[in-house]
Amino acid sequence: MAEIHKEVYGMAVATDLYERLAAHGITRRDFLKFCGTLAAVMGLSQTAVPQIAAAVGEAAGSGLYPALWINGAACTGCTESIAQATQPNVADIVLDILSLPQMETVMMASGEYAEKAGEEYAAANKGKYILICEGAVTEMLDGNVLRIAEKPYVEILQHYAEGAAAIVAVGSCAVDGGWVRAYPNPAKATGVKAYLDANISNPKKRPPVVNLPGCPVNPLEIIAVVVNVLLTGDLTKILKDPVKELNLDRQNRPKYLYGSTIHDNCERRGHFENGEFVYQFGGQAEADNYCLYAMGCKGPQTYRHCSKLRWNNNMSWCVASGGPCIGCGNFNWVDNNTPFRQRMRRIGAGVIGGPGGLGIAKAGAIVGGVVVVGIGAHALASKATHRIGKNSTLKNEEMKTYDARKLKKKGGSADA
Protein backbone atom coordinates (compact mmCIF):
# COMPACT_ATOMS: atom_id res chain seq x y z
CA MET A 1 0.00 0.00 0.00
CA ALA A 2 2.83 2.34 0.86
CA GLU A 3 4.15 2.46 -2.72
CA ILE A 4 0.77 3.31 -4.07
CA HIS A 5 0.44 6.16 -1.62
CA LYS A 6 3.56 7.71 -3.04
CA GLU A 7 2.37 7.24 -6.60
CA VAL A 8 -0.21 9.33 -8.33
CA TYR A 9 -3.08 6.89 -8.72
CA GLY A 10 -1.24 4.27 -10.77
CA MET A 11 -3.05 3.18 -13.88
CA ALA A 12 -2.91 -0.48 -12.98
CA VAL A 13 -4.91 0.13 -9.85
CA ALA A 14 -7.11 2.75 -11.31
CA THR A 15 -8.17 0.90 -14.42
CA ASP A 16 -9.85 -1.79 -12.41
CA LEU A 17 -11.62 0.70 -10.21
CA TYR A 18 -12.70 2.92 -13.09
CA GLU A 19 -14.07 -0.05 -14.93
CA ARG A 20 -16.21 -0.92 -11.99
CA LEU A 21 -17.24 2.70 -11.52
CA ALA A 22 -18.12 2.92 -15.19
CA ALA A 23 -20.33 -0.12 -14.77
CA HIS A 24 -22.22 1.95 -12.19
CA GLY A 25 -22.39 4.85 -14.61
CA ILE A 26 -19.83 6.89 -12.68
CA THR A 27 -17.14 8.72 -14.59
CA ARG A 28 -13.56 9.17 -13.53
CA ARG A 29 -14.37 12.83 -13.12
CA ASP A 30 -17.20 12.08 -10.68
CA PHE A 31 -14.86 9.92 -8.69
CA LEU A 32 -12.13 12.53 -8.46
CA LYS A 33 -14.68 15.16 -7.52
CA PHE A 34 -15.81 12.88 -4.74
CA CYS A 35 -12.23 12.45 -3.55
CA GLY A 36 -11.86 16.22 -3.71
CA THR A 37 -14.88 16.64 -1.43
CA LEU A 38 -13.40 14.13 0.97
CA ALA A 39 -10.08 15.95 1.00
CA ALA A 40 -11.85 19.22 1.71
CA VAL A 41 -13.92 17.70 4.49
CA MET A 42 -10.88 16.09 6.05
CA GLY A 43 -9.03 19.35 5.97
CA LEU A 44 -6.43 18.02 3.52
CA SER A 45 -5.16 20.06 0.62
CA GLN A 46 -6.28 19.17 -2.89
CA THR A 47 -2.86 17.64 -3.47
CA ALA A 48 -4.11 14.77 -1.31
CA VAL A 49 -6.76 13.87 -3.89
CA PRO A 50 -4.54 11.46 -5.86
CA GLN A 51 -3.51 9.84 -2.59
CA ILE A 52 -7.10 9.32 -1.58
CA ALA A 53 -7.98 8.04 -5.04
CA ALA A 54 -5.11 5.59 -4.96
CA ALA A 55 -5.92 4.34 -1.48
CA VAL A 56 -9.59 3.92 -2.31
CA GLY A 57 -8.72 2.40 -5.67
CA GLU A 58 -6.62 -0.26 -4.12
CA ALA A 59 -8.96 -1.13 -1.32
CA ALA A 60 -12.28 -0.76 -3.11
CA GLY A 61 -14.45 -3.82 -3.04
CA SER A 62 -11.81 -5.72 -1.16
CA GLY A 63 -13.86 -6.14 1.98
CA LEU A 64 -10.61 -5.19 3.68
CA TYR A 65 -12.05 -4.59 7.12
CA PRO A 66 -14.53 -6.99 8.65
CA ALA A 67 -17.39 -5.10 10.19
CA LEU A 68 -20.68 -5.69 11.97
CA TRP A 69 -23.55 -3.24 12.06
CA ILE A 70 -25.95 -3.54 14.99
CA ASN A 71 -29.06 -1.56 15.77
CA GLY A 72 -30.24 -0.33 19.14
CA ALA A 73 -33.13 2.01 19.78
CA ALA A 74 -33.26 4.09 16.65
CA CYS A 75 -35.48 5.13 13.79
CA THR A 76 -33.13 3.44 11.29
CA GLY A 77 -32.56 6.84 9.80
CA CYS A 78 -28.82 6.31 9.82
CA THR A 79 -29.19 3.10 7.84
CA GLU A 80 -31.40 4.95 5.40
CA SER A 81 -28.88 7.71 5.21
CA ILE A 82 -26.23 5.21 4.17
CA ALA A 83 -28.61 3.61 1.71
CA GLN A 84 -29.91 6.94 0.52
CA ALA A 85 -28.53 6.63 -2.99
CA THR A 86 -31.20 5.96 -5.55
CA GLN A 87 -28.53 4.35 -7.68
CA PRO A 88 -25.18 2.89 -6.68
CA ASN A 89 -22.74 5.74 -6.30
CA VAL A 90 -19.16 6.39 -5.44
CA ALA A 91 -19.94 6.21 -1.75
CA ASP A 92 -21.03 2.60 -2.15
CA ILE A 93 -17.69 1.76 -3.64
CA VAL A 94 -15.89 3.10 -0.61
CA LEU A 95 -18.29 1.48 1.79
CA ASP A 96 -17.53 -1.81 0.07
CA ILE A 97 -14.12 -1.52 1.64
CA LEU A 98 -15.90 -2.68 4.75
CA SER A 99 -16.96 -6.26 4.65
CA LEU A 100 -20.36 -5.87 6.18
CA PRO A 101 -22.38 -9.06 6.05
CA GLN A 102 -24.41 -8.16 9.11
CA MET A 103 -26.66 -5.14 8.79
CA GLU A 104 -30.07 -6.11 10.07
CA THR A 105 -32.17 -3.62 8.20
CA VAL A 106 -30.89 -4.29 4.71
CA MET A 107 -29.49 -7.82 4.71
CA MET A 108 -31.34 -10.67 3.06
CA ALA A 109 -31.19 -13.16 5.89
CA SER A 110 -33.58 -12.86 8.76
CA GLY A 111 -34.55 -14.52 12.01
CA GLU A 112 -32.41 -17.25 13.48
CA TYR A 113 -30.22 -17.52 10.38
CA ALA A 114 -29.29 -13.91 10.54
CA GLU A 115 -28.46 -14.10 14.24
CA LYS A 116 -26.38 -17.20 13.72
CA ALA A 117 -24.54 -15.74 10.75
CA GLY A 118 -23.69 -12.67 12.80
CA GLU A 119 -22.46 -14.80 15.67
CA GLU A 120 -20.28 -16.91 13.43
CA TYR A 121 -18.89 -13.92 11.63
CA ALA A 122 -17.99 -12.27 14.93
CA ALA A 123 -16.39 -15.45 16.22
CA ALA A 124 -14.34 -15.88 13.06
CA ASN A 125 -13.11 -12.30 13.20
CA LYS A 126 -12.78 -11.95 16.96
CA GLY A 127 -10.60 -9.05 17.96
CA LYS A 128 -10.44 -7.83 14.36
CA TYR A 129 -13.85 -6.58 13.38
CA ILE A 130 -15.17 -3.06 13.55
CA LEU A 131 -18.47 -2.78 15.35
CA ILE A 132 -20.74 -0.13 13.92
CA CYS A 133 -23.53 0.79 16.31
CA GLU A 134 -26.67 2.62 15.33
CA GLY A 135 -29.27 3.61 17.89
CA ALA A 136 -29.41 4.36 21.57
CA VAL A 137 -28.69 1.98 24.41
CA THR A 138 -31.84 1.72 26.51
CA GLU A 139 -31.29 0.75 30.11
CA MET A 140 -34.84 0.77 31.44
CA LEU A 141 -35.96 -2.55 33.02
CA ASP A 142 -32.37 -3.78 32.96
CA GLY A 143 -32.28 -3.22 29.24
CA ASN A 144 -35.36 -5.36 28.65
CA VAL A 145 -37.16 -2.38 27.24
CA LEU A 146 -35.48 -3.30 23.94
CA ARG A 147 -35.13 -6.99 23.15
CA ILE A 148 -33.84 -8.38 19.89
CA ALA A 149 -33.95 -12.10 19.15
CA GLU A 150 -35.02 -12.70 22.73
CA LYS A 151 -32.06 -10.92 24.21
CA PRO A 152 -31.86 -7.42 25.62
CA TYR A 153 -29.97 -5.12 23.29
CA VAL A 154 -27.57 -4.16 26.08
CA GLU A 155 -26.45 -7.77 26.23
CA ILE A 156 -25.96 -7.97 22.47
CA LEU A 157 -24.01 -4.74 22.48
CA GLN A 158 -21.76 -5.82 25.31
CA HIS A 159 -21.15 -9.19 23.71
CA TYR A 160 -20.14 -7.81 20.32
CA ALA A 161 -18.22 -4.94 21.89
CA GLU A 162 -16.02 -7.31 23.80
CA GLY A 163 -14.88 -8.98 20.58
CA ALA A 164 -14.45 -5.82 18.55
CA ALA A 165 -11.21 -4.11 17.55
CA ALA A 166 -12.95 -0.75 17.51
CA ILE A 167 -16.42 0.70 17.66
CA VAL A 168 -17.92 3.39 15.52
CA ALA A 169 -21.03 4.93 17.06
CA VAL A 170 -22.94 6.29 14.11
CA GLY A 171 -25.59 8.92 14.63
CA SER A 172 -26.57 10.86 17.72
CA CYS A 173 -28.56 8.00 19.26
CA ALA A 174 -25.52 5.76 19.43
CA VAL A 175 -23.31 8.64 20.52
CA ASP A 176 -25.33 9.85 23.49
CA GLY A 177 -28.88 8.57 23.21
CA GLY A 178 -29.97 11.12 20.61
CA TRP A 179 -33.65 12.00 20.43
CA VAL A 180 -34.48 8.72 22.18
CA ARG A 181 -33.08 10.14 25.41
CA ALA A 182 -34.97 13.43 25.10
CA TYR A 183 -36.85 14.49 28.21
CA PRO A 184 -38.29 12.67 30.08
CA ASN A 185 -36.25 9.83 28.62
CA PRO A 186 -38.65 7.05 29.61
CA ALA A 187 -36.44 4.27 28.21
CA LYS A 188 -33.37 5.55 30.07
CA ALA A 189 -31.46 5.87 26.83
CA THR A 190 -27.78 6.59 26.72
CA GLY A 191 -24.88 6.35 24.29
CA VAL A 192 -22.68 3.39 23.45
CA LYS A 193 -19.54 4.83 25.00
CA ALA A 194 -21.23 5.84 28.24
CA TYR A 195 -22.80 2.42 28.52
CA LEU A 196 -19.61 0.48 27.87
CA ASP A 197 -17.58 2.73 30.16
CA ALA A 198 -20.01 1.91 32.94
CA ASN A 199 -20.36 -1.79 32.21
CA ILE A 200 -17.00 -3.08 31.07
CA SER A 201 -14.96 -2.47 34.17
CA ASN A 202 -11.55 -3.25 32.72
CA PRO A 203 -10.65 -0.26 30.54
CA LYS A 204 -8.24 -2.44 28.55
CA LYS A 205 -11.15 -4.58 27.42
CA ARG A 206 -13.06 -1.55 26.15
CA PRO A 207 -12.45 -1.07 22.45
CA PRO A 208 -11.90 2.53 21.35
CA VAL A 209 -15.08 4.32 20.32
CA VAL A 210 -15.26 6.79 17.46
CA ASN A 211 -18.30 9.03 17.81
CA LEU A 212 -20.07 10.33 14.73
CA PRO A 213 -22.99 12.38 16.08
CA GLY A 214 -25.69 13.68 13.79
CA CYS A 215 -29.29 12.85 13.18
CA PRO A 216 -28.80 11.04 10.93
CA VAL A 217 -25.13 10.36 10.31
CA ASN A 218 -23.98 11.46 6.87
CA PRO A 219 -22.60 8.57 4.79
CA LEU A 220 -19.63 10.78 3.97
CA GLU A 221 -18.81 10.99 7.66
CA ILE A 222 -18.38 7.22 7.80
CA ILE A 223 -16.50 7.27 4.51
CA ALA A 224 -14.14 9.96 5.75
CA VAL A 225 -13.23 7.76 8.71
CA VAL A 226 -12.69 4.77 6.41
CA VAL A 227 -10.46 6.88 4.15
CA ASN A 228 -8.64 8.19 7.20
CA VAL A 229 -7.91 4.59 8.17
CA LEU A 230 -6.82 3.77 4.61
CA LEU A 231 -4.49 6.73 4.44
CA THR A 232 -2.89 5.82 7.74
CA GLY A 233 -2.59 2.33 6.36
CA ASP A 234 -1.84 0.36 9.46
CA LEU A 235 -4.83 -0.66 11.55
CA THR A 236 -2.72 -1.98 14.43
CA LYS A 237 -0.94 1.33 14.66
CA ILE A 238 -4.28 3.13 14.68
CA LEU A 239 -5.70 0.93 17.39
CA LYS A 240 -2.71 1.58 19.58
CA ASP A 241 -3.44 5.28 19.68
CA PRO A 242 -6.76 5.98 18.00
CA VAL A 243 -7.04 9.42 19.54
CA LYS A 244 -3.89 10.53 17.77
CA GLU A 245 -4.14 8.53 14.56
CA LEU A 246 -7.78 9.29 13.93
CA ASN A 247 -7.38 12.77 15.31
CA LEU A 248 -10.19 12.49 17.86
CA ASP A 249 -11.35 15.33 20.08
CA ARG A 250 -12.42 15.19 23.71
CA GLN A 251 -15.74 13.67 22.77
CA ASN A 252 -14.08 11.06 20.54
CA ARG A 253 -15.20 12.78 17.37
CA PRO A 254 -12.73 13.02 14.47
CA LYS A 255 -11.58 16.61 14.56
CA TYR A 256 -11.66 16.97 10.81
CA LEU A 257 -15.38 16.23 10.79
CA TYR A 258 -16.41 18.11 13.91
CA GLY A 259 -13.76 20.76 14.26
CA SER A 260 -15.76 23.68 12.96
CA THR A 261 -19.33 24.81 13.26
CA ILE A 262 -22.11 24.76 10.68
CA HIS A 263 -21.99 28.51 10.99
CA ASP A 264 -18.26 28.69 10.17
CA ASN A 265 -18.86 27.24 6.73
CA CYS A 266 -22.37 28.43 6.07
CA GLU A 267 -23.14 30.01 2.75
CA ARG A 268 -25.37 32.56 4.47
CA ARG A 269 -22.59 33.67 6.77
CA GLY A 270 -22.12 36.91 4.85
CA HIS A 271 -25.69 37.89 5.67
CA PHE A 272 -25.07 37.00 9.30
CA GLU A 273 -22.03 39.27 9.50
CA ASN A 274 -23.97 42.08 7.83
CA GLY A 275 -26.83 41.59 10.25
CA GLU A 276 -29.30 40.59 7.55
CA PHE A 277 -31.78 38.15 9.05
CA VAL A 278 -34.98 36.32 8.24
CA TYR A 279 -37.45 37.26 10.97
CA GLN A 280 -40.39 35.33 9.61
CA PHE A 281 -40.88 32.80 6.91
CA GLY A 282 -42.54 33.99 3.78
CA GLY A 283 -41.06 37.46 3.44
CA GLN A 284 -38.56 39.12 1.15
CA ALA A 285 -35.68 38.37 3.53
CA GLU A 286 -36.34 34.69 3.14
CA ALA A 287 -36.49 35.03 -0.64
CA ASP A 288 -33.12 36.79 -0.46
CA ASN A 289 -31.64 33.83 1.44
CA TYR A 290 -30.84 35.94 4.49
CA CYS A 291 -29.34 34.36 7.59
CA LEU A 292 -31.68 32.21 9.70
CA TYR A 293 -30.16 33.11 13.08
CA ALA A 294 -33.21 34.99 14.30
CA MET A 295 -35.34 31.97 13.35
CA GLY A 296 -33.44 29.95 15.92
CA CYS A 297 -30.64 28.58 13.73
CA LYS A 298 -28.33 26.52 15.93
CA GLY A 299 -25.53 26.64 13.36
CA PRO A 300 -23.25 28.74 15.57
CA GLN A 301 -23.02 26.11 18.29
CA THR A 302 -23.23 22.97 16.18
CA TYR A 303 -20.00 21.31 15.20
CA ARG A 304 -20.50 19.57 11.89
CA HIS A 305 -19.70 19.93 8.23
CA CYS A 306 -23.10 19.82 6.58
CA SER A 307 -22.48 22.65 4.13
CA LYS A 308 -19.53 20.75 2.69
CA LEU A 309 -20.92 17.22 2.96
CA ARG A 310 -24.50 18.06 2.02
CA TRP A 311 -27.25 15.46 1.84
CA ASN A 312 -28.94 13.17 -0.65
CA ASN A 313 -26.12 12.78 -3.11
CA ASN A 314 -24.81 16.24 -2.63
CA MET A 315 -28.17 17.77 -3.42
CA SER A 316 -28.65 20.24 -0.61
CA TRP A 317 -28.53 20.71 3.14
CA CYS A 318 -30.74 22.25 5.82
CA VAL A 319 -29.81 25.91 5.56
CA ALA A 320 -29.47 25.82 1.77
CA SER A 321 -33.00 24.49 1.58
CA GLY A 322 -34.22 27.30 3.83
CA GLY A 323 -34.46 25.54 7.19
CA PRO A 324 -32.56 26.76 10.23
CA CYS A 325 -30.08 24.19 11.55
CA ILE A 326 -31.70 22.45 14.52
CA GLY A 327 -28.32 21.35 15.81
CA CYS A 328 -28.75 17.63 15.27
CA GLY A 329 -24.97 17.19 15.52
CA ASN A 330 -25.01 18.50 19.09
CA PHE A 331 -24.96 16.42 22.20
CA ASN A 332 -28.35 15.60 23.68
CA TRP A 333 -29.52 17.73 20.86
CA VAL A 334 -33.28 17.65 21.36
CA ASP A 335 -33.22 18.85 24.96
CA ASN A 336 -30.52 21.36 24.24
CA ASN A 337 -31.93 22.86 21.09
CA THR A 338 -35.65 23.01 21.60
CA PRO A 339 -37.54 25.20 20.93
CA PHE A 340 -35.96 24.81 17.52
CA ARG A 341 -37.25 28.15 16.35
CA GLN A 342 -35.89 30.12 19.27
CA ARG A 343 -32.41 31.30 20.04
CA MET A 344 -32.15 29.62 23.40
CA ARG A 345 -33.41 26.90 25.61
CA ARG A 346 -36.19 27.79 27.99
CA ILE A 347 -35.44 27.67 31.68
CA GLY A 348 -37.39 26.52 34.69
CA ALA A 349 -40.42 24.24 34.63
CA GLY A 350 -39.38 21.33 36.78
CA VAL A 351 -36.35 19.74 35.29
CA ILE A 352 -34.41 22.18 33.22
CA GLY A 353 -34.46 19.74 30.32
CA GLY A 354 -38.23 19.55 30.26
CA PRO A 355 -40.78 21.13 28.03
CA GLY A 356 -42.56 24.35 28.94
CA GLY A 357 -40.65 26.74 31.12
CA LEU A 358 -39.96 30.37 30.62
CA GLY A 359 -38.38 32.03 27.62
CA ILE A 360 -35.09 33.32 28.81
CA ALA A 361 -35.71 36.86 27.62
CA LYS A 362 -38.97 36.96 29.52
CA ALA A 363 -37.30 35.58 32.64
CA GLY A 364 -34.62 38.27 32.42
CA ALA A 365 -37.17 40.99 31.88
CA ILE A 366 -39.28 39.86 34.84
CA VAL A 367 -36.36 39.73 37.27
CA GLY A 368 -34.95 42.98 35.91
CA GLY A 369 -38.38 44.61 36.21
CA VAL A 370 -38.77 43.48 39.81
CA VAL A 371 -35.37 44.96 40.68
CA VAL A 372 -36.11 48.27 38.98
CA VAL A 373 -39.46 48.53 40.74
CA GLY A 374 -37.76 47.57 44.01
CA ILE A 375 -35.14 50.26 43.61
CA GLY A 376 -37.80 52.80 42.74
CA ALA A 377 -39.83 51.92 45.81
CA HIS A 378 -36.75 52.06 48.01
CA ALA A 379 -35.82 55.44 46.59
CA LEU A 380 -39.29 56.84 47.25
CA ALA A 381 -39.34 55.51 50.78
CA SER A 382 -35.82 56.82 51.40
CA LYS A 383 -36.81 60.22 50.11
CA ALA A 384 -39.81 60.26 52.42
CA THR A 385 -37.66 59.39 55.42
CA HIS A 386 -34.94 61.90 54.44
CA ARG A 387 -32.38 59.24 53.77
CA ILE A 388 -31.65 60.51 50.32
CA GLY A 389 -29.49 63.54 49.66
CA LYS A 390 -26.33 64.95 51.07
CA ASN A 391 -27.47 65.48 54.64
CA SER A 392 -28.58 61.95 55.17
CA THR A 393 -25.69 60.40 56.98
CA LEU A 394 -24.05 60.23 60.36
CA LYS A 395 -21.00 62.28 61.10
CA ASN A 396 -17.72 60.42 61.21
CA GLU A 397 -17.23 61.35 64.81
CA GLU A 398 -20.50 59.81 65.87
CA MET A 399 -19.75 56.70 63.88
CA LYS A 400 -16.33 56.38 65.37
CA THR A 401 -17.81 56.45 68.84
CA TYR A 402 -20.23 53.81 67.74
CA ASP A 403 -17.46 51.62 66.33
CA ALA A 404 -15.38 52.08 69.43
CA ARG A 405 -18.26 51.07 71.61
CA LYS A 406 -18.74 48.00 69.45
CA LEU A 407 -15.13 47.05 69.57
CA LYS A 408 -14.91 47.89 73.24
CA LYS A 409 -11.67 49.62 72.57
CA LYS A 410 -10.48 52.84 71.08
CA GLY A 411 -10.22 52.54 67.38
CA GLY A 412 -11.99 52.40 64.10
CA SER A 413 -10.08 53.72 61.20
CA ALA A 414 -11.90 56.97 60.70
CA ASP A 415 -9.93 60.15 60.51
CA ALA A 416 -9.87 62.84 63.08
Binding site: F272, E276, N332, N336, H378
Partner: protein, 228 residues
Protein backbone atom coordinates in the same frame (compact mmCIF):
# COMPACT_ATOMS: atom_id res chain seq x y z
CA UNK B 1 -13.21 74.40 53.02
CA UNK B 2 -14.16 70.97 51.88
CA UNK B 3 -12.59 67.87 53.17
CA UNK B 4 -10.03 65.93 51.12
CA UNK B 5 -11.54 63.19 48.95
CA UNK B 6 -8.96 62.54 46.25
CA UNK B 7 -7.36 59.78 48.25
CA UNK B 8 -10.57 57.79 48.07
CA UNK B 9 -9.88 56.61 44.54
CA UNK B 10 -6.31 56.96 43.27
CA UNK B 11 -6.04 57.74 39.53
CA UNK B 12 -5.14 54.17 38.60
CA UNK B 13 -8.43 52.93 40.08
CA UNK B 14 -10.30 55.64 38.29
CA UNK B 15 -8.86 54.26 35.07
CA UNK B 16 -9.75 50.64 35.90
CA UNK B 17 -13.25 51.76 36.90
CA UNK B 18 -13.68 53.60 33.61
CA UNK B 19 -12.51 50.55 31.68
CA UNK B 20 -14.88 48.39 33.67
CA UNK B 21 -17.86 50.65 33.18
CA UNK B 22 -17.33 51.21 29.47
CA UNK B 23 -16.54 47.55 28.74
CA UNK B 24 -19.57 46.40 30.66
CA UNK B 25 -21.85 48.72 28.78
CA UNK B 26 -20.46 47.66 25.42
CA UNK B 27 -20.54 43.99 26.40
CA UNK B 28 -24.14 44.17 27.50
CA UNK B 29 -25.26 45.95 24.36
CA UNK B 30 -23.30 43.77 21.95
CA UNK B 31 -24.27 40.68 23.95
CA UNK B 32 -27.97 41.47 23.80
CA UNK B 33 -27.63 42.02 20.07
CA UNK B 34 -25.84 38.70 19.64
CA UNK B 35 -28.50 36.96 21.74
CA UNK B 36 -31.20 38.30 19.52
CA UNK B 37 -30.53 40.74 16.71
CA UNK B 38 -33.79 42.64 17.03
CA UNK B 39 -32.89 44.79 14.06
CA UNK B 40 -30.60 44.31 11.08
CA UNK B 41 -27.21 45.78 11.19
CA UNK B 42 -23.87 44.71 12.41
CA UNK B 43 -23.58 41.18 13.71
CA UNK B 44 -19.97 40.75 12.61
CA UNK B 45 -18.95 43.92 14.40
CA UNK B 46 -21.03 43.03 17.46
CA UNK B 47 -19.27 39.70 17.82
CA UNK B 48 -15.81 41.14 17.27
CA UNK B 49 -16.41 43.91 19.77
CA UNK B 50 -17.93 41.49 22.27
CA UNK B 51 -14.91 39.20 22.27
CA UNK B 52 -12.48 42.12 22.38
CA UNK B 53 -14.09 43.80 25.37
CA UNK B 54 -14.61 40.43 27.00
CA UNK B 55 -10.86 40.01 27.07
CA UNK B 56 -10.36 43.63 28.13
CA UNK B 57 -12.72 43.41 31.11
CA UNK B 58 -11.22 40.12 32.23
CA UNK B 59 -7.64 41.44 32.14
CA UNK B 60 -8.78 44.68 33.76
CA UNK B 61 -10.32 42.71 36.59
CA UNK B 62 -7.10 40.76 37.15
CA UNK B 63 -5.05 43.96 37.09
CA UNK B 64 -7.44 45.59 39.55
CA UNK B 65 -7.15 42.67 41.95
CA UNK B 66 -3.34 42.66 41.77
CA UNK B 67 -3.21 46.42 42.25
CA UNK B 68 -5.27 46.09 45.39
CA UNK B 69 -2.21 44.59 47.01
CA UNK B 70 0.07 47.44 46.01
CA UNK B 71 -1.92 50.66 45.88
CA UNK B 72 -2.95 52.55 48.97
CA UNK B 73 -6.11 54.56 49.32
CA UNK B 74 -8.07 56.47 51.92
CA UNK B 75 -9.23 54.62 54.99
CA UNK B 76 -12.47 56.54 54.88
CA UNK B 77 -14.06 59.54 53.31
CA UNK B 78 -12.57 62.92 53.94
CA UNK B 79 -9.16 61.86 55.08
CA UNK B 80 -5.69 61.77 53.57
CA UNK B 81 -4.84 58.85 55.80
CA UNK B 82 -4.26 55.80 53.58
CA UNK B 83 -3.80 52.10 53.77
CA UNK B 84 -3.49 49.20 51.37
CA UNK B 85 -6.54 48.94 49.14
CA UNK B 86 -7.07 45.25 49.82
CA UNK B 87 -7.54 46.09 53.51
CA UNK B 88 -10.18 48.62 52.61
CA UNK B 89 -11.73 46.22 50.14
CA UNK B 90 -12.14 43.23 52.44
CA UNK B 91 -14.31 43.48 55.55
CA UNK B 92 -12.03 44.72 58.34
CA UNK B 93 -12.08 43.81 61.96
CA UNK B 94 -12.92 47.40 62.88
CA UNK B 95 -16.09 47.50 60.83
CA UNK B 96 -17.32 43.97 60.29
CA UNK B 97 -19.94 44.53 62.96
CA UNK B 98 -21.55 47.11 60.73
CA UNK B 99 -22.99 44.47 58.45
CA UNK B 100 -26.32 43.98 60.19
CA UNK B 101 -26.80 47.59 61.26
CA UNK B 102 -26.22 48.50 57.62
CA UNK B 103 -28.75 45.95 56.45
CA UNK B 104 -31.21 47.33 58.99
CA UNK B 105 -30.55 50.82 57.68
CA UNK B 106 -31.36 49.80 54.14
CA UNK B 107 -34.51 48.07 55.35
CA UNK B 108 -35.63 51.24 57.20
CA UNK B 109 -35.19 49.55 60.54
CA UNK B 110 -32.42 51.85 61.69
CA UNK B 111 -32.16 55.60 61.58
CA UNK B 112 -28.44 56.29 61.66
CA UNK B 113 -26.17 55.48 58.80
CA UNK B 114 -23.56 53.11 60.18
CA UNK B 115 -20.37 53.57 58.21
CA UNK B 116 -16.94 54.57 59.30
CA UNK B 117 -14.69 52.79 56.83
CA UNK B 118 -14.04 53.45 53.17
CA UNK B 119 -16.80 51.10 52.18
CA UNK B 120 -19.70 49.74 54.15
CA UNK B 121 -19.32 46.06 54.99
CA UNK B 122 -22.16 44.97 52.72
CA UNK B 123 -20.70 47.08 50.00
CA UNK B 124 -17.33 45.39 50.41
CA UNK B 125 -18.96 42.01 49.96
CA UNK B 126 -20.79 43.28 46.89
CA UNK B 127 -17.52 44.46 45.36
CA UNK B 128 -15.89 41.12 45.99
CA UNK B 129 -18.91 39.58 44.29
CA UNK B 130 -18.41 41.82 41.26
CA UNK B 131 -14.86 40.60 40.79
CA UNK B 132 -16.03 37.01 41.15
CA UNK B 133 -18.87 37.68 38.71
CA UNK B 134 -16.59 39.20 36.08
CA UNK B 135 -14.27 36.22 36.30
CA UNK B 136 -17.20 33.81 36.13
CA UNK B 137 -18.77 35.53 33.12
CA UNK B 138 -15.41 35.68 31.37
CA UNK B 139 -14.94 32.00 32.03
CA UNK B 140 -18.33 31.11 30.57
CA UNK B 141 -17.55 33.39 27.64
CA UNK B 142 -14.31 31.58 26.89
CA UNK B 143 -16.18 28.28 27.18
CA UNK B 144 -18.40 29.48 24.34
CA UNK B 145 -15.79 31.09 22.16
CA UNK B 146 -14.76 28.71 19.38
CA UNK B 147 -11.13 29.69 19.67
CA UNK B 148 -10.83 28.60 23.29
CA UNK B 149 -13.58 26.14 24.05
CA UNK B 150 -11.62 22.97 23.32
CA UNK B 151 -8.90 23.95 25.79
CA UNK B 152 -8.97 21.57 28.73
CA UNK B 153 -9.82 24.24 31.29
CA UNK B 154 -12.93 25.33 29.38
CA UNK B 155 -13.92 21.89 28.05
CA UNK B 156 -14.15 20.75 31.66
CA UNK B 157 -16.62 23.52 32.39
CA UNK B 158 -18.76 22.74 29.37
CA UNK B 159 -18.89 19.08 30.32
CA UNK B 160 -19.70 19.92 33.89
CA UNK B 161 -22.61 22.24 33.26
CA UNK B 162 -24.08 20.19 30.45
CA UNK B 163 -24.04 17.19 32.79
CA UNK B 164 -25.23 19.19 35.79
CA UNK B 165 -28.24 20.73 34.15
CA UNK B 166 -29.59 17.49 32.80
CA UNK B 167 -28.48 18.25 29.28
CA UNK B 168 -26.24 15.22 29.13
CA UNK B 169 -22.47 15.41 29.05
CA UNK B 170 -20.49 15.87 25.92
CA UNK B 171 -19.98 19.54 26.43
CA UNK B 172 -23.05 20.89 24.71
CA UNK B 173 -22.76 24.62 24.50
CA UNK B 174 -26.39 25.49 25.11
CA UNK B 175 -26.34 25.25 28.93
CA UNK B 176 -23.25 27.43 28.98
CA UNK B 177 -24.97 29.95 26.74
CA UNK B 178 -27.92 30.05 29.11
CA UNK B 179 -25.62 30.52 32.10
CA UNK B 180 -23.56 33.20 30.36
CA UNK B 181 -26.75 35.04 29.54
CA UNK B 182 -28.23 34.71 33.04
CA UNK B 183 -25.01 35.88 34.67
CA UNK B 184 -25.23 38.99 32.53
CA UNK B 185 -28.60 39.74 34.07
CA UNK B 186 -27.20 39.20 37.55
CA UNK B 187 -24.42 41.65 36.77
CA UNK B 188 -26.90 44.16 35.36
CA UNK B 189 -28.94 43.90 38.53
CA UNK B 190 -25.89 44.32 40.77
CA UNK B 191 -24.84 47.31 38.69
CA UNK B 192 -28.27 48.94 38.94
CA UNK B 193 -28.23 48.58 42.72
CA UNK B 194 -24.65 49.84 42.81
CA UNK B 195 -25.57 52.93 40.83
CA UNK B 196 -28.61 53.56 42.97
CA UNK B 197 -26.77 53.30 46.25
CA UNK B 198 -23.85 55.32 44.97
CA UNK B 199 -26.22 58.10 44.00
CA UNK B 200 -28.41 58.01 47.09
CA UNK B 201 -26.36 60.67 48.77
CA UNK B 202 -25.78 62.94 45.82
CA UNK B 203 -23.19 62.94 43.10
CA UNK B 204 -20.10 63.16 45.31
CA UNK B 205 -19.15 59.59 44.48
CA UNK B 206 -19.64 60.19 40.75
CA UNK B 207 -17.27 63.15 40.74
CA UNK B 208 -14.68 61.19 42.68
CA UNK B 209 -14.71 57.98 40.67
CA UNK B 210 -15.19 59.42 37.20
CA UNK B 211 -13.48 62.81 37.38
CA UNK B 212 -11.04 62.54 40.28
CA UNK B 213 -12.63 65.65 41.74
CA UNK B 214 -13.16 66.73 45.28
CA UNK B 215 -16.68 67.96 45.73
CA UNK B 216 -16.77 71.64 46.66
CA UNK B 217 -20.11 71.13 48.39
CA UNK B 218 -18.99 68.17 50.36
CA UNK B 219 -17.46 70.25 53.10
CA UNK B 220 -20.07 69.77 55.75
CA UNK B 221 -21.33 66.36 55.03
CA UNK B 222 -18.42 64.37 53.84
CA UNK B 223 -19.69 61.37 55.63
CA UNK B 224 -21.73 60.36 52.65
CA UNK B 225 -21.09 56.72 51.86
CA UNK B 226 -18.08 56.28 49.72
CA UNK B 227 -19.42 54.38 46.81
CA UNK B 228 -17.00 53.54 44.07
Amino acid sequence: MHKPLKEMHPPVFIVTHWINAVSMLILIMSGLYIHFPAFSGFMGAARGVHVFFGIVIFLNCLVRIVLAFFVKDATTMGTREKELDIRNWLPQKENRHQFFPMLRWYLFMKKDYPISAKYATMQKLAYIMIAVMIIAISYTGFCLWGVTNQLAIFAVGNNLVSGLFGFGGGGSLMPMRVIHYCLMWVLIIISLIHIYIATMHGFVAWRMIFLYKEDPDAGEHVDAPAQA
